[in-house]
Symmetry: D2
Subunit: 298 residues, 4 copies
Amino acid sequence: MSTAHIGFLGLGSMGAPMARNLLDSGLAVTVYNRTRSVAEAFGSAGASASIAETPAGAVVEGGIAITMLANDAALEDVTLGPDGILQQLGKGGLHISMSTVSPETSKKLAALHAERGSLFLSAPVFGRPEAAAAKKLWICQSGSNAAKQRAKAILDILGQGIHDFGEDPGAANVVKLSGNFMILAAIETMAEAQALAEKNGIDRTMLANFFGQTIFSCPIYQNYGRTLAERAFEPAGFKLELGMKDVRLVRDVAEASMVPMPLADLLHARLLTSLAKKRGKQDWTAIELVTAEDAALR
Amino acid sequence: MSTAHIGFLGLGSMGAPMARNLLDSGLAVTVYNRTRSVAEAFGSAGASASIAETPAGAVVEGGIAITMLANDAALEDVTLGPDGILQQLGKGGLHISMSTVSPETSKKLAALHAERGSLFLSAPVFGRPEAAAAKKLWICQSGSNAAKQRAKAILDILGQGIHDFGEDPGAANVVKLSGNFMILAAIETMAEAQALAEKNGIDRTMLANFFGQTIFSCPIYQNYGRTLAERAFEPAGFKLELGMKDVRLVRDVAEASMVPMPLADLLHARLLTSLAKKRGKQDWTAIELVTAEDAALR
Amino acid sequence: MSTAHIGFLGLGSMGAPMARNLLDSGLAVTVYNRTRSVAEAFGSAGASASIAETPAGAVVEGGIAITMLANDAALEDVTLGPDGILQQLGKGGLHISMSTVSPETSKKLAALHAERGSLFLSAPVFGRPEAAAAKKLWICQSGSNAAKQRAKAILDILGQGIHDFGEDPGAANVVKLSGNFMILAAIETMAEAQALAEKNGIDRTMLANFFGQTIFSCPIYQNYGRTLAERAFEPAGFKLELGMKDVRLVRDVAEASMVPMPLADLLHARLLTSLAKKRGKQDWTAIELVTAEDAALR
Amino acid sequence: MSTAHIGFLGLGSMGAPMARNLLDSGLAVTVYNRTRSVAEAFGSAGASASIAETPAGAVVEGGIAITMLANDAALEDVTLGPDGILQQLGKGGLHISMSTVSPETSKKLAALHAERGSLFLSAPVFGRPEAAAAKKLWICQSGSNAAKQRAKAILDILGQGIHDFGEDPGAANVVKLSGNFMILAAIETMAEAQALAEKNGIDRTMLANFFGQTIFSCPIYQNYGRTLAERAFEPAGFKLELGMKDVRLVRDVAEASMVPMPLADLLHARLLTSLAKKRGKQDWTAIELVTAEDAALR
C-alpha cells in the first residue's frame, strides 16, 4: 500500500489502539495529543511513532490526517486553530474525521477543506476500546467518493466493515448519533424492565440472560444487560458525561431538523439527574440508578 | 411419552399451530374455541382432533389443559366459568397457562387449582405464529416443580427452549410482559432514529440494515427495523390493539409494585394516539406513524 | 324549605363539616360512617344528628341521601351493598353523590336509581376542609333536571356556587377529575420552576410570591406556591395517596376516551415515585421532593 | 425628573408602546430599530422621537440605553457590535436590558459594562403589547443597587410594579424564563384537560369558564383558557416560534444548572411538532393542536 504519511491526532482510549494498529500495519504515523505526556507514553510503548508538538506538525502536505477527539470544540481547535491541520494538509491532503461530532461541524470542515483542495471524510465508529484494539470497529462513512477511495485501505485496517451513507459529510455523524441514542435507549429499557422484575421477586441477571439468549441476542443487550443486572458501573467503559455530550448533540440535530424525540428527552433527563448526583465519571449504564432510586430499590 | 389426554383451549393465530404440533407428535388432543366455526375449520384441516362444545368438555379428570387465550377475562371465563376447566380437571390435573396475562390472574388461578388438587403452570411464550408453527417458541415458565416436571415433555414439543423463573406462578407473566415492553421500546427507539435519519436525508432501510448487521444484530431489530423502514404495517403480525392490552398490563404491574416506568408511559401514549386514529388492526409497529406525523414526515 | 329528611354518608375531613352545615341550617340529618366511632364523635359534638347503624338506616323512603366517600368502591358498597341506600330510597328518593369518583360509576348508579324511580345527581366539589366548613365549596353538577331542582336548596347551603354541566351524570365527575389534574399539574410546574430558581441562587419564596401576586394571582398558585417554597408537606391538607387515586381515575377516563395525556403520565410517575418512597401520608405537594432529589437539591 | 437622555433600541410589538409611553411622559428619547422603516413609522406617529442610524447613535455618553430585542444575538449585536452602545455609553451610562435573554448573556454584558464604568440592569417584563401600552407591565429586575436606583423612575413609568431579585444580573432572566415556562405549562395543562372534556361530551368553553371563575381565577387561565376553548390561534398574541426560543433558553439554563425538567421537555416537544407542522407564526397556544390531533379531535 503506497499510502502517504499519516498524522494521528487524539490518543484517548479509542485513538491510542487505533493508532497502534496503523503502526503495526507498517504505516508511517506521527501522533499528536494535546496533553503531550500521553503522546510520550504512547511512543515509549511502541517504537516507530514520531511525536508532534502541534497538530500541524503531525501532518505533511498532501498527506493524511486522522482525528479521534473528544468533541466538536477539540476537533475545530485541532483543525482550524493556529498550527491546525487545515493549512498544513493543503492540496491533495485527506482529513479522516472519526470523532463523534455534530453533522454541522463536518459540513463546515468539509467545505473549508474543499476550498483548499484537500479532501474530508466523516468516518465515526462503533465499538469500545477493546474492539478498537482488535480491529473490530464498525465504521460508517460519508463524504466525497475521492475521499472514500483514498481512505479505504486505512479504514480496512481499523475496522471489520465500512458502511457507506452517501456524499453528505454530515450523514455519517447522524448515523453515529442515532446509534448512541439507540444504545442508551436500550439501557433505559433494560433498566426499567429489570426494576420491574426485581420488585416482583425475579432475579435481574436471570432476566438479562434470558433476553440476551433469545429475542435480544446481540452484543448491546448481552453486555449491557449483564452490567445493569450487576450494577457494575465502575470502572467506566464509556463515561456518563461523554454520553451526555452525545445526547446533547442528538437533541441539537433533532431540534434543527424538527424531529420531536421524546425518548431522547427522557434519556437526557436521566443523564442530567445522574450528573447532578455526581455520577459523570461512572459508566453511562449508571443512569439505571435513577430508575432504581425512583422505585426505592436503592 | 405417556402423557395424559390434552385439552387445548384457544385456537387463535398462536394456539392453532401449537395445537397442530401436539397432534402431529401423536398426542391425543381435544380442542375448544369460543367461536365454534374456528374449531371446526381447525379440525377439518387435521384428521385427529376432537372438538369440544365447552371448556370442560375438552379436558378429562386428571388430564392436561393448555390455554392460549386473548386476555385475562377469557382465561378466567374458560377456567372459572360455568363448564370451566377448573372443576373438570380435578385431582392430578394440570393447567398450562400460556396466554399473556397478569401475574395476579396466575396467582389466583394457581391457588384455586391447588385447592382442588390440580397443578398450575405459567408458561407464556415469545414468538410470532411462524415461530409457533416451526416449534421455535421461547417459553418462560414459573410455578411448582411438580407442574414443571409434568409439563416438560409437552413444552419441549412446542418450543426451542424452556427458561425457568422459579416457583411464583406470576413470575413468568412478569417476564413475558417485560419482554413485550422491551420489544415495543425497541420499536419506538427505531422509529425516532429513523425519523431523525429521514429528515437528514439518510435512507431509512440503509440505517436499519446497518444497525441490524452490526451492534443490534438480533431478530427484533432486524425484523422490526425493516418493517419500520418500509412502513409495512399491514397485514398485522401482532395487532396494535393487542399491544395496548399488554402495555396496560405492564402499567398495572408497575403501579402495583411501585416502579415508575416513564418509557412504558411513552409507549402507552403512542398506542393510545394510534387507537384514537383507528389503527388498532394494524401491526403494532404502526406506532411509528405518530413519530412520523409529529415530525411532519407524513 | 320543605326538604325531606337527609341521610349523610361519610364523615371524613370533607363530609363532617358539610354535614354540620346542614344541621346548623335546621335540617333533619341522620349520619352514617363505616367506622362508627367517627359518627359518634361527630354526634357528641353536635346535638341534633341521629346516627345510623347501616347505610339504609340513614335514609328514609323518598328522602335524600348525600354521599361523600373515599372512592368508587366505598360509594358502590354504601349504595349497592346489603343494607345499601339504593333499595331504601325507593320511589321519589334523591341520591346526591359528592365524592370524587369515576364517571362510569356515576352512570351506573344513575341507571340503577332510575330503574327504582329515584333520582341521582353527580355533584363533586372543589375546596379543602376549611372551605367546606366556611360553605365556600365550588360545586359542579350533572344529571337530570328533576334531580338538580330538588338538590338546589341543599347545595346552596354547602357551597358558594353551583356550576352545571348538563344531563350526563358522568360529566361533573370528568370536570372534577380534570380540575384535580390541573391542580397537580400546577404543583409540578411550580416545583420545576422553583428548582430552577433555587439552583440559580434565587429565593424560592420570593419566586412564589412574585407569580402569586402577578400573572398567577389565584389561590392555587398562591397557596401551593408557598407550601412548595417552604416544603411544608406535613400535616397533609390532601394526602398524596388520595391524589394517586384521582390521577389513576384521570388516566382511566383518558384511556377509555382515547385522549393521550403525557402530562398526566408525568404526574402519575411523580406520585408513584413518592409512594415508593413512603410519602403517601404527606401532602400531595410532596411530589416536589422528586424534582428536588433529581436536581440534587435534597 | 432629571433623567438623562434615553436611547430606546428595538421597536417591536413590545418596544414600540414602551418607547411611546416614555415619550408621552415628556422624556427625551432617541429610537433605533434594525429595520429603519419601522423606526420611521414609529416616528411619524409620534412627534418628538429622534431616529438614530446606528445603536451608538441612539445613546449619549453617560446616558441611558433601553434594549427590547428579539433574542440574545440581537442584544449582543446592538451592544457589542460595531457602532454598539457599549462603547458609546461610557462612564456613568446605564443599560436597562428588558429583552427575554439568557442569564449568561446578562452576566457577560454586566461585566463588560462594569469594565467601562457603566451600569447594567436586567429588567425583563411580563405582559402582552396591550399591557405595555397601558403601562401595566410586571417588571422583574436584578443587578447592582446603583443601576436600580437610577432606573427606578423609568421603570415606574413602564410598569405597574417592580419586583427585585437581587444583585446577580442573571437572576431576573431566570425569573422571566421560569414565568414563560409556567405559562406554557398552564397552556399544555388546559389543552389536555379540554381534550378530555371534549371527548367526554363537555363543552370546552364551559370548562374554561368554570375554572377561570373558581380555583384558577387569574389572567393566564382566564385569557388562555378562552383562546384554547375557541382555538383562536390567529392572529398571534405571542408567536409560537418565539415561545420556542424561550423554551430553548429554559432548557439551556436547566442543563447548565443541572435541573431535570421533564415538563419543559414535554413543552419543547409540543413546540417542535408545531414548528414541523409550520405553525410558527400562530399564537403559542396553538400547541393545543398537537393534543387535539393525538386524540383525533382534529
